[in-house]
Amino acid sequence: MLGLFGKKEQQSKEVAKERLRLVLMQDRLSLAPHTMEQMKDAVIVAISRFVEIDPHGIELSWKDSERKRALVASIPVISVKRGASRDD
């Protein structure tokens, strides 16, 4: 919808939807404290196929911008496995 002076105004339901999407994500995660730990374990398993990592040094965190929420992982790599780039 166009506003009075022709400036494009976002429909309020779009704003609600966007805000709800983020807040539900936040609620669901904070209510499931084990989720982060499980995610960490899954990341370790997946990455370890290709590189040797230090499982104790892994950090998972959220980075929020206005529109979306990103999962940021810091994974200390110890060595790269031979033939890691090969498809198998």
Binding site: M1, L2, Q11, S12, K13, E14, A16, K17, R19, L20, R21, V23, L24, D27, R28, L31
Partner: protein
């Protein structure tokens, strides 16, 4: 086979009691034996919405504490055969009953009735835990507003954690005009966010206020759109496939002109 359904929401004032009363009347009109349980101890309202407030002798807490037998506390509906209300206590609070006692009570009620509908209080505290204790299935009521949808999501999480299988959603108080102009989330968007199955959509309807004033649930009036929506939900609860009401509102001539000028 009988079934106990809890009507819950998290957020207050979204229409749990209205839903409970209307579904009860609709199911009883279809020939079922139905008992409505007001689990909102301390803030009872189902009695007035049903128009049965003058017939109460005993209440749920009296039964649990052994002051009377269950049969004595059931208030018979004045309009429909096979419809009963178990009123909440007004002078006690939620801690007067335990989930275990509620479970026993609901199981006992299931013996003589096809459907036991439990009107849950708002919140996630003991009142909620009591209300869901004996239920086989859950129906979640929300409105198309942010805070109601958010609380519904929380309740869905809690229900799933306590072993409820796929709760069903009622979206109440849809205003087609607001949806049409993009100022209210529509049905698909809400289902998409909550990721549960829809069992009904109820329009915002002034007649609901009239019906509450009179103590005559809206399903008793043929002209009420909300009443029609609740009758449809009752049939879906029975397992019938009923198409969803079309609540989309086409733009009026004036709205089209306004849009045309702006574009």
């Amino acid at each position: 086979m009988s079934e106990a359904l809890v009507i819950t929401s998290g957020k207050g004032g979204v229409g749990k009691t209205t839903t409970c009363a209307n579904l009860g009347v609709a199911l009883a009109s279809l020939g079922h034996k139905v008992v409505l349980v007001d689990a909102d101890i301390g803030l009872r309202n189902l009695d007035v919405v049903m128009g049965l407030e003058n017939r109460i002798v005993y209440d749920l807490v009296d039964v649990v504490e052994g002051f009377c037998r269950l049969r004595q506390a059931l208030v018979k509906d004045k309009r429909l055969e096979g419809l009963y209300l178990l009123p909440a206590a007004q002078t006690k609070d939620k801690t007067a009953v335990t989930p275990e006692q509620m479970r026993n009570l609901i199981n006992e009620l299931k013996e003589g009735h096809d459907y036991v509908l439990v009107d849950c209080p708002a919140g996630i505290e003991q009142g909620f835990r009591n209300a869901v204790a004996g239920a086989d299935k859950a129906i979640i009521v929300t409105t198309p507003e942010m805070s109601a949808v958010r609380d519904a999501d929380r309740i869905i999480g809690l229900l799933e954690a306590s072993g409820f299988d796929r709760p069903k959603l009622i979206i109440n108080r849809i205003k087609p005009k607001m949806v049409a102009r993009g100022d209210m989330m529509d049905i698909d968007e809400i289902i998409d966010l909550l990721a549960i199955d829809l069992i009904g959509v109820v329009p915002d309807d002034e007649y609901i206020v009239v019906s509450t004033n009179r103590g005559e649930p809206a399903v008793l009036a043929n002209s009420s759109k909300a009443g029609e929506a609740f009758r449809n939900i009752a049939r879906r609860i029975r397992g019938e496939t009923v198409p969803f009401m079309d609540l989309t509102e086409s733009e009026t001539f004036w709205e089209r002109i306004k849009k045309f000028i702006k574009l």
